[in-house]
Every structure is written in C-alpha cells, then in structure tokens.
C-alpha cells in the first residue's frame, strides 16, 4: 500500500522535473513574492524602529518561511480531480485496484515532494540575499516538521472537497481561488495573525489554517513553546478527522450522481 503510494508520488515528481527549468522558475516566483514583503517591513522598521512583537530579523525570517512553505500549503492536486471528472477519467480511476482517495493521495505526495524541492531551493536562495534566522533549537525544528506533516492530510482532504464540487459545476478553478484566498487570510500568510483584530484572531484560532503558516513559523522562531505545541497537534488531529469525514461523505454522495459528458 505504502509502496504504491510512494510510486505514484515519485511519478508525479518526475513529471515535473522533465523540464528542469520549472524548478528554477518556481523558485524565482517565490523570491519575487517575498521581495515586496521584506522591503515594506524594512521601510516600516527604519521609520518607526519597531514592529509589534517582532525584531526585524524575525519578521524577515517570518516572510521568507511563508514563501518557503507556500508550495507545501497551497499547492497540490488542485484542479486534477475536477479535470478527471470533466474529462471522464474518473470512470477508469474508480475501477483502479486502489481506492480513488488513496490514488490521489499518492499524487498529492508527488506534488508535496516537488513542493519540498522548491521550498528548499527558495530557502537556500533567500539565505544569499538576507540573513535568515535558524530554528531556536532542534526540538523546535522537530515540532515545526511535525506540524507541517500533519498539514498534508488536512490540505489534501480540503482539496478533495473542493475538487468534488466538479460534479456540480465546471467553474472549479474559481473555487480553487476561493480556497487559496481563505487560507491566505486566516493562516498568517499575509501578516502574523497577532497584527489582525482580536475578533478575527478568534475565528483563526478555531480554523485549521493557522497551522499552515503562523503556528509552525512561530515554533521555529521560539515564540510558541512547551505544552502549547501538544495542544496544537491535538487540534490538528481533530481537524484531520473532521476533514476526512467531510470529504468522504461529500464524495460518496456526489459520485452517485455521476454523469459525464460523452465519457
């Protein structure tokens, strides 16, 4: 089972690396994205001498980690499911000896593998241009990785839910943008969540998206420590379960309606 998953994942990475330039360009994209953030915050820091709760090095590291983590938190199989529904490949994929969910999870792992490659390249290149802080200690780094690993199923099931909408509408790409925007707003991607209004933070605390950026980066910087991390992992496990049930129920309901244009 695991072997099959990894094989599917490997295939996905290979597909990407067919064009070596892709990795270079995706990394370039990440760097271009971080430039504005960093220069804006440096300008604010030079003017006011402080940013609430963050040293200038910390805020630069925060945003570099944000763009580094984007490939793993926002990318994924995305349109693949909607595409498989629209083109009718789904009829074949449902007959696969492994379940549809498992098959696409393998594909998701491939995407994550390529995302990880891009992330590592981005992180290294950013180190050339700016001073990036290292994790405060080895335990913080291990916790950082654990949180990121638990994000994979949450992000995957969420994409499954959005992809399943493909049974009802052809305009799923809009749903994808909706998904990305909501994650961007509630995850701390735009700015550390402590800078948002309190009411907003309360909503963000309940949703699972905070763990995509804000929480792991703060653990990395040593601002979240100890027992709190265990609570966060508990919260993530609950969300994995919720997302799994939602995705399964929705998919099983939708798949009964299957009618494919000329499939």
């Amino acid at each position: 089972m695991l072997g099959t998953l990894l094989k599917i994942g490997k295939m996905g990475i290979k597909e990407y690396l067919q064009y070596k330039s892709v990795l270079f360009l995706f990394t370039l994209n990440r760097i271009i994205e971080v430039v504005v953030y960093i220069f804006v915050w440096y300008a604010i820091y030079n003017q006011t001498g402080q940013i609430e709760g963050f040293a200038i090095n910390e805020i630069a590291t925060y945003y570099i980690l944000v763009v580094t983590l984007v490939p793993m938190s926002l990318w994924g199989i995305n349109e693949d499911i909607a595409y498989s529904i629209r083109k009718g490949y789904i009829t074949r994929e449902l007959l696969n000896p492994i379940s549809y969910f498992t098959y696409y999870f393998g594909k998701e792992l491939g995407e994550m593998g390529f995302g990880l490659l891009t992330a590592i390249c981005t992180f290294i290149v950013c180190n050339i241009f700016w001073t990036v802080l290292m994790p405060v200690n080895i335990w913080a780094f291990i916790a950082f990785i654990c949180i990121l690993l638990l994000n994979i199923p949450i992000s995957y099931f969420l994409q499954m839910i959005v992809g399943t909408c493909g049974f009802y509408t052809n305009a799923t790409w809009g749903m994808q943008i909706l998904r990305k925007s909501i994650i961007s707003i509630f995850s701390g991607l735009i700015a550390p969540l402590t800078m948002f209004p309190v009411a907003f933070q309360k909503v963000a605390n309940i949703l699972p998206f905070k763990e995509f950026f804000y929480t792991p980066i703060n653990i990395y910087l040593g601002k979240i420590q100890g027992v709190e991390i265990l609570f966060i992992i508990g919260k993530q496990l609950i969300w994995v379960l919720i997302m799994y049930v939602l995705a399964k129920v929705f998919f099983n309901k939708a798949v009964k309606k299957i009618t494919i244009n000329g499939g």
């Binding site: 064009y19 330039s21 892709v22 360009l25 995706f26 370039l28 994209n29 271009i32 994205e33 430039v35 504005v36 953030y37 220069f39 804006v40 440096y42 300008a43 604010i44 003017q47 006011t48 940013i51 609430e52 509408t169 052809n170 305009a171 790409w173 809009g174 749903m175 943008i177 909706l178 925007s181 909501i182 961007s184 707003i185 735009i190 700015a191 800078m195 948002f196």
Partner: protein, 265 residues
Amino acid sequence: MTKIKDNISIYLSMLSCSIKSMMEYRVDFIVGIISQLLTQAVELIFIWIIFQNTQSLAGWTFDKLLLLYGITMLTIAIVDFLFDSIYDIGPKYIKDGDFDKLLLRPIHPLISVIGDTKTFTAFGYMAISLILIISMLIKLQIDITFMLVAKIIIFAFSGALIIGAIMIALSVTSFYTYKSNEIIWSVFRIYTFAQYPVEIYNKFIRILITFIFPFVFATYYPTLNYLGMENGWLMYLSPIVAIIFLIIAVKIWNWGLNKYRSTGN
C-alpha cells in the same frame, strides 16, 4: 503602414467576438469576478496591516497608497483583457500544433493570438480599481476634472502596452521550450513591486523596475503625476517607453518566429 492598419482592424473585430463568447458562460463569468475580488481583498488586507504599524510608508499615506494600488489594478485589468492569451502560446498553440494553423492566416500570427483572448477576470479588477480610484480621489480632495479622467484612461492604456510588450518579448521562449507561461508569469509578477513607493527598494530593484522591466512608467509615475508629487512629469515618457518596448518586442518575436519548428503533430 496599411498592413499595420489591416492587422489592427482585424484584431478589433476578433476582440469583439471574444467578448461575446465570454458572456455565454455566465456562471464562469460570475465565479471569475468573485474570485478576483477575493484575491484583491488579500492584497488590500496587507496594505491595511502596514498602516496599523506606521503612519506613512516612505512619505505615502494610506489613501495615496490605495490610489496607487487602484491605478495599478486598472492597468493590470487592461493587460489581462488585451494580452492574456500570450500565456497560451506555448502550452496551447504550439504544444497542440494549433500554431501552424495561425501561420497560414494572412495576418500576423501575433495578432491571431492576442485577438483570441478570453478572460473575464479583467472585469473584477476593473470594478475594484474604479471604486478605489474614485473614492481615493475624493478622499484626497483631488478635483476630478475631464483632463484628469482623460489622463488616467490614456496612461492606463499606455502602461498596459508597456507590460504587454514585456510579455510578448518573453513569450519567444515558448518557441524553444513549448511552454512559456511560467517565465512570463514570473516577470509579470514584478508589477507588484511598483505598487509601493520605489524609495523603499534598494538600487538593484529600482534599476530593474525602471530600465529593464519599466513597470514604474506603467503605474507608479502616472500616480505621482495625479497626486502632484515630485517627478510626476516622468509620466509623459510612458507612451514613448511603450512604443519603444513594443517595437523591440515585435522584433524579438519575429526573430523567434523564424527559428520556430513545429512540434510535428
């Protein structure tokens, strides 16, 4: 000269065709606009956060920065509307072999490509930018005269031509790699640099967005002019930059076209 005129008139009729076909898919149209509004919301939240931490950014207040943002969005909307199909040259036309069909037409293939643009996201950008521009002009107590409106429209178009020229020039890469969208997208994203005062950047980035990819002429200098700030006169160089870059871009494109080999589908 008549050849250029013919090309332009054919282009215009193709454009009106694509608008009609866009309107056919109503759900896609609405979803497209809603998703565009959300993407904008994300960027506006960042600007809002900036001003929770400071009174002004390199001398720019919140209102002024929003005006710059609005002007940028208006230009981007026009770029989106006119040049979006440049992204398709590699993945759609060349990879599928459709490009050979275009070569047989009696008009320049570049016209065929950009005439085929079908993007409804542009309307979302347009709506947001107009709301922002008008409300910020009122808030900043700038008189909305006929002159100003004319300037905003003309220079938004000239800015869009600059960005379009850069996209055309970069799309030559698709003749070699059969996929061009990533490199165009990467450079296109640099426009976001010009959404903030150039004073915050270091020398390298200033040179990059002034001389190599002159996004500052597209959006930043025009905004300086509307606000009556220093260096606002540089806006008037924008149409010249646009023409120069367009000529270079078409030259590069024609040169790339000569090297083009069909994928053999």
